[in-house]
């Protein structure tokens, strides 16, 4: 039993999207996400799909990697569309099965919501695939820096976020090792009633917590040894500057949103 966690894994490549300033990239993708969630017809969805596909091509990220990184969330997506299909009761009834019925409104809703979500997921994963956690943390750092003025530790929040990203794969590996070890000692993860299954998780969680604390201990030693004292006085290895590339990215995003709005009026 191996847990595969690939959400938020960086894919190194030389592309315009990779080189884009992380702050601008985040704002652009946020804008695209909001826009995608406002789509309501097929033409808009097609445009959005084309736009996201173009971005993937420019970013030189293989489709397989994108699929792998959103796969864990696909289950959630499938459940969502099933709910829409079965429980939306607008329009005509197309088919019935016992107490359940599928309506035309349900089909539209299922298709629309699923497509929106899928596009949003892919766009979101594009950020993670093309931005290193350090760049992300730096970007958040800058974006949250106004918060520091009102006493909220913007930089520290960004740092915590970045460390979290760093330790997700490590803890995932350990979880699967713990599950393997305990299932070999008769731990029942895939048998028995729900109570037994839930109970079998307790020792896993305890062992994982213990290992988390051990990592925390080591990590704090490492942070101290490397003179990490919070954001003040820190410099940044990676340059963050706004140039022509960032302006183009902003313009392209704006054009996309305008076009999407236009399609909304037309259809």
């Amino acid at each position: 039993m191996a847990l595969k966690i690939s959400i938020g894994q960086y894919y190194a490549a030389a592309s315009t999207v990779h080189a884009l300033d992380a702050r601008v990239k985040l704002w652009c993708v946020l804008t695209v996400l909001v826009a995608v969630f406002c789509t309501s017809n097929a033409a808009q969805l097609l445009l959005a799909a084309g736009f996201v596909a173009a971005l993937l091509a420019i970013a030189r990220v293989p489709a397989g990697r994108v699929v792998a990184s959103v796969r864990p969330l696909m289950v959630f997506l499938a459940v969502l569309s099933l709910f829409n299909l079965l429980f939306v009761r607008t329009g005509e009834v197309v088919a019935t099965l016992g107490p359940l019925s599928v309506t035309s409104g349900g089909i539209t809703a299922a298709a629309l919501y699923t497509a929106r979500f899928a596009l949003a997921l892919v766009a979101g994963s594009l950020v993670m695939l093309t931005t290193t956690p350090t760049q992300l943390a730096d970007a958040f750092d800058r974006m949250l820096s106004p918060l520091s003025r009102v006493g909220i530790p913007g930089h520290e929040i960004a740092m915590v976020f970045s460390l979290m990203m760093r330790f997700v794969p490590t803890l995932a590996d350990e979880t699967s090792a713990i599950i393997d070890a305990q299932s070999l000692r008769g731990g029942a993860f895939d048998e028995g009633g729900p109570v037994r299954r839930v109970r079998s998780i307790v020792p896993v969680v305890v062992a994982l917590l213990a290992s988390g604390l051990r990592h925390a201990d080591g990590l704090s030693r490492a942070l101290d040894a490397r003179c990490y004292e919070g954001g003040a006085g820190r410099t940044h290895f990676h340059e963050q500057h706004l140039g022509a590339r960032e302006v183009v990215a902003a313009l392209v995003t704006a054009a996309f949103v305008a076009l999407l709005a236009l399609l909304g009026f037309l259809f």
């Binding site: 794969p169 008769g186 305890v206």
Partner: protein
Amino acid sequence: MTSAAVPIRLSHVSLVYEGGVVALDDVSLEVARGERICVLGANGSGKSTLASVVCGLLAPDAGEVELAGEHVCSDGRPDLEAYRRARRNLGLVFQNPDDQIVTSVVEDDVAFGPENLGLPREEIASRVTRELHRVALDDYAHADPSRLSGGQKQRVAIAGALAMEPDVLVLDEPGSLLDVRGRAAILRVMGRLAKAGTTLVHVTHFMEEAVEADRVIVLDRGRIALEGTPEEVFARGAELADLGLEVPFAARLSQRLGLPWTCSEKDVVDAIAGVPFGDRTLLGHRPDVPKASCPQMGHLISVEHASFSYSGRAQALDDVSLEVAPGVSTAIIGQTGSGKSTLLRLFCGLEVPDSGRIVVAGNDTSTKRGRKAVRRVVGYVMQHPERQLFAETVEKDVAFGPRNLRLSADEVSRRVNRALELVGLAGKREASPFQLSGGQRRLCALAGILAMEPEVLILDEPTAGLDPRGRAMLRRVLVRLRERGITLVQVTHSMEDAARCDRVVALDQSHLVAVGTPREVFSPENEERLTKGGLGIPRSLRVARELERRGWPALGDPLTTDELVAAIGETAGTGAFAGETVGTGTFVSPQEVR
């Protein structure tokens, strides 16, 4: 960089942890600029605490501490501002590489320290390039550290510390979680640093690693037990063994033969080769070796043409076939990435081969029912099994498995008692597993698996990361299990451990390269292939073969130091090594080499 002050000065430092555990007891130590110091000690000797004090992460309860020219602690009162300033000139690399890497890109990680120091960007960039080059990781600048090997990760950590240009680099057991190759790479880096004049404080329990040091300090229960040059300290072999350390092979051998003391294998061979051997040549003589009892009954584990690959990655095992007979102990050797651990996972039914089949005690692992049956027969001790301990007491942790089998309370306690008895932890049943020593924690995890009463025990590097005492404890338990007829299969990096097993299986790059008794596998015909695969042969055998190359008669392939000493004694004739002045040994001290 600070002035010409002594980088580290501790005087009469004591440190007591909560609960009254004395970690350091009146320790005084001075480290000169450019010096390479090695701190040796068993687990619990206080050496890690000393490392923390020396790199400014821990202030003692009593005594004076001067670090990087700052008077950071006087009479147990720390000056926090001075500590902050001092830490900027002190670097630390410690045991677990995973905990030291804070980002997901190698170069960003190396840059982390310099960023914290507030250096300008150009300076950071040039340091990152320079340090990655120094640890020979230039090509990995953009790699994800979690995909690197342990040794590579540790080199990233060293680069990260060096990029801060510390006055002193403290290395706290940097190699104890690495394989042989990773450890050798770390030592090479340290050698280069020492040559470049970096002040090094190296904490370890591997005595071999101390040979190159300028000065060796041996700690025992928080006190400095021995101090001096490596040859001064190592010459006191008996005392060192009492302190829970392992005297290097060459030193042990030279002592056993009554030769001048040395830590270099080449010197020992030179010295022995210089001794004339008697007429009683033993050409072709092979000592009688007790043959592994190989019952004629069927195989307990049989692997037939098994191939396996983890999804989307290269082949982990390619057409491997082998058998394990009941009651026989088997060692699996191979480089990291050769497929050894995968083979173990196939044995326990945690993975199923893509093609071919695996039958354990008559159960084919390809079906779910078969895998379930296999799990009742096989006990699997993973790497670092102590990391998976979770219960409040040793007893409860060991009882986890039997309870899951829904045995009666009597049967559970019988099995727990028996398992704890076997590993020698019967007196610790009420203790928390987290209060045990490293070796005891591992034995506790082992007891948890023994309580399942497996017929086959599968162990993945059972001694990795333990100090000599822990290793000895574990080996004793394995011998005991073998006597009770439990079939043992262990992955090991130690050719000496492999030589003690009945059979050896050698893997290289997912292929099976040799199977047989240790003598067959480590035969002269296989030697080159094993060495090329980065494995080598047991040290005693290496010395014997070297002597044979220098014209000695055949020594009968000794696999252990005892066999080697006996064979040499017999060949040379009694008397040649009976403590007489041999006088042929050349004594090369590390100082002269440097």
